[in-house]
Amino acid sequence: MEPTEPTTTAAGFWSDTGRSGIASWIFSTDHKRIGLLYFYSVFGFFLVAVALGLLLRIELMAPGRTIMGPQAYNALFTVHGVVMVFLFIIPGFQGSFGNLVMPIQIGARDVAFPRLNLLSWWLYMAGAAIILTSLFTGGGPPDTGWTFYLPFSGRTGTNVSLAVFGVFVVGFSSIVTGVNFITTIHRLRAEGMTWGRLPLFVWSLYATAWVQILATPILGITLVLIIAERLLGTGLFEPGQGGDPLMYQHLFWIYSHPAVYIMILPAMGVISEIIPVFARKPIFGYRMIAFSSIAIAAAGSLVWGHHMFTSGMSDMAILVFSFLTFIVAIPSAIKVFNWISTLYRGSISLEAPMLFSLSFIFLFSIGGLTGLVQGAAATDIHVHDTQFVVGHFHYVIFGGSGFAFFAAMHYWLPKFYGRRYAEKPAIIAWALMFTGFNILYFSMIVLGLEGMPRRYYDYLPEFAPLNLVSTIGSWILATGLMILLVNLFMGLRSGARAGSNPWGGATLEWSIPTPPPTENFADEPVVTHGPYDFRGTGVP
């Protein structure tokens, strides 16, 4: 059934010998190589931040000092947050799977600006290096939390200025990718690839790129202002000099709330790709899912005030932002309902990508519903700044985006490595991760409702049992993650060969050889059917 591949192109883009050794990667403008570079980098940082998270959980296992002092704890949760947010999940999907898959899915040979694409990765690495440098120089790692709230971040002796500059550079990389992707999607679609035939992953990347372009500059100016505050003493957010700390929070969240959608939108796109393929059914409500990506991006940009309900913002603003926040639930729910409807009467095959996708729906729903508890100002005042919030956003970002990232790894990596992983260990890994995840973070949700604050080093004895449970959950999750890693590593190195279309997908990346050749398509493809039209893919 699989087309026989000519031996010369069997290694696809891997055998492209323009340069040799590492230079053939770090100076390559091939979107697939850049995608893999991004994948290695973001996933490396993910593992670092996971290790920090595990340390945090060990510290919180019992009240009082367990393995570190309070200052180390403050630094640790800050660095965990900064690395996870700015170095893993924000650039994660766009940089890795966006780069790997998107140009092929629209039938292009590469992105619109290949050299800018490489620059984007270099900027990302430069920013990451600066952030890492900040940990070991100056006053040591920042202890402000990843939000860098002023006035504290203006006064702390830790190395905030350098860390913030690193984040600025990473933000610039994010903008460059956003510009590149929007231009690519507008200009380089193959003949017949109309907006109505665009794969939903591409739609989600398109919406994400818009958020990157319109929100990231606000982060940029915010970070510049932190540095100005520290180095020049501008006092724009310093009450003693007439500044208003709340204005900092406005600026910060104008970016950082939409940033949540930079993290989750591409994840939703991945799920929209995987569900129809593994249910062997065209996606239900294509237009609504595509439209809801745009709607989430738009509505999500206008709700930042809900992070500030207890900050002393005006009651009028609390009312407005609370109302706007509920609007975001509508397009999110549209997506969930459409995924469920796609599953209905489908011929479902429960392989690893599908299992991760289904657990995405479950975990994201919990994350979304707990989000509504905080969107309503009245209940938010009770749970604000408690472990409830920590549980909530880990359900959304880790249970949502993270699990979608694992789904994407299992779904797409065989295409690019040309080899498959073993199915059984993948399922065991998934089961452990799913179980561990819920033990870890549901405990936090309960702890928060009981009143345990977040970011606190020590806690009352009555919180001890659930904290212990939570920490044990983190070990189960980590075990699953290890199995997943080893299994993928061994499989992609020496597993069975993956055919050109192992899952029976109908999007364009499955129509070309595995691994894809350097220029993707021998001739520019002409698209004649939709992305979820499974007739003629040769799979039952």
Binding site: H186, R187, L188, R189, L214, I218, L246, H250, I254, S301, L302, G305, M308, G312, M313, S314, D315, M316, A317, V320, F321, L324
Partner: protein
């Protein structure tokens, strides 16, 4: 490949038009300085912003060729300006009512 931008016909703007726009921009600058000197009260913040918007519009329309661009670029600009206005506007729900 000319999707979304309605072809690649590049419009050339004559030197005369550009110079005329420049003249108007200088006149508006003189006007806004004069108005700031003579008008009193805070109404003139809006007045000078209005003049600045007209100037900005001229720069975008002629110097930046927006008058001759296709629908896509106009939409981009429109979406961005509306978003910026919303960012500022929604913040004022806090600033004005605190």
């Amino acid at each position: 490949m000319g999707k979304d931008t309605h072809g690649n016909t590049t419009h050339i703007i004559g030197y005369g038009t550009l110079t005329a726009v420049w003249g108007v921009l200088l006149l508006l600058t003189a006007l806004t300085v004069w108005a700031a000197r003579h008008a009193t009260g805070f109404g003139h913040v809006w007045g000078s912003l209005a003049i600045a918007s007209v100037k900005g519009g001229l720069v975008i329309a002629f110097f930046m060729h927006m008058r001759y661009e296709g629908r896509l670029l106009r939409w981009l600009l429109f979406v961005a300006l509306v978003t910026l206005a919303l960012f500022i506007g929604l913040t004022f729900f806090d600033v004005l009512y605190r």
